[in-house]
């Protein structure tokens, strides 16, 4: 006997992501799914962002890691509410994990929520969490060839943050070529050239976040969704 199913493998995740999206909308909360390789500086960027936006926006952070609560502890020291998710080996966050973590957050008190995904440029891209925008982070230390090697995240990102640019003089990272390549993958995105160490580019990044939290750029962040 043949049974036709026709059900998407990601449908359970997609329906939970839809519920998360409604929840965020009801709380007028801008949500960013921050995706990068391990060690690219997601937590450092959030620490600096928290201090620069202090008094302007109320931030919350949900942090995903395989193990430990070290990142959430760092973010809390910067004065921001943080909830740590330990995936215990799983390489990405799912909408369901985020929904459970959100039960610990008073969403009414926030304007902007970051979901710091598990450090991984591949798997997190497939799992919608209900965010308004995916933001890719690429550090100079990783090398300028990464957008070509892992185009998926750059194709879906509303913005790309290049981090650790204070290291440019010590590497062969070709910044103009890298930006050109990202633009060829997805020309509809914003770039921020930053260093959490020197502070370069962070004021532009924070200004963009303020606009996002104010409800601008509400369009679909995904350039090409079938």
């Amino acid at each position: 006997m043949k049974i036709i199913v026709g059900q998407d493998l990601l449908s359970a995740n997609a329906s939970q992501a839809g519920e998360n999206r409604v929840l965020f909308k009801n709380h007028r909360l801008a949500v960013i799914n921050l995706i990068s390789a391990p060690g690219s500086g997601k937590t450092a960027l959030l620490e600096k962002t928290a201090s620069l936006l202090k008094g302007k926006l109320k931030l919350g952070v949900v942090v995903g890691d395989l193990y430990t609560a070290r990142d959430a502890e760092r973010i809390e020291r910067a004065g921001v509410t943080a909830v740590q998710i330990n995936t215990e080996g799983v390489c990405h966050l799912t909408a369901d994990m985020v929904a459970r973590a959100l039960q610990e957050v008073s969403l009414d008190q926030l304007n902007l929520l970051f979901i710091e995904n598990v450090g991984n440029l591949v798997c997190p891209v497939s799992f919608d969490l209900g965010e308004r925008a995916k933001v890719a982070l690429l550090s100079v230390a990783e090398g300028s060839d990464k957008p070509a090697k892992y185009p998926g995240i750059f194709r879906e990102a509303m913005a790309t943050v290049i981090s650790k640019v204070d290291l440019l003089p010590y590497t062969d990272f070709d910044l103009p070529a890298c930006l050109e390549e990202i633009q060829q993958i997805n020309g509809n995105q914003q770039f921020f050239i930053t260093s959490a160490h020197s502070g370069q580019g962070l004021s532009q990044w924070c200004a963009w976040l303020e606009q996002l939290a104010a409800g601008k750029f509400n369009g679909n962040s995904i350039a090409s969704r079938s």
């Binding site: 043949k2 990601l10 809390e76 215990e88 799983v90």
Partner: protein, 130 residues
Amino acid sequence: MRLWGDIAVNGCNGRAAVHELSLIQSLINMVVKSAIENNIKKVTKVQLVVGEYHGVLPESLEFAFGILTEGTVCAGSELAIEKSALLLKCRKCAHEFHPDGYLYTCPICTAVNAELVKGRELYVHYYEGE
């Protein structure tokens, strides 16, 4: 601050190391549920459609399927993978094409960011059983 651990992913116990495993786990959950509803005792074949966009490896899907079907109604069944090639449409000149490499650049007018028409599928088409 709260620490959350041991969170189930798509029905598996949070022990999957790659996302192919969680995808296959949701596939098995779907088929098992449907088999119960249709009074099917043994599944012999599962047909899965995978779009090129996802870049998942058939070998890792088959490997995960072999392990995760053990002890279920799907044990010993065949996983047939039907690939769906990418089809893009240029936003400027409307030309439809298959990309050569990772850039979605139109071969006719060189515009970037072509729209994805087909190739993002990831679904169980059908299964067979008795």
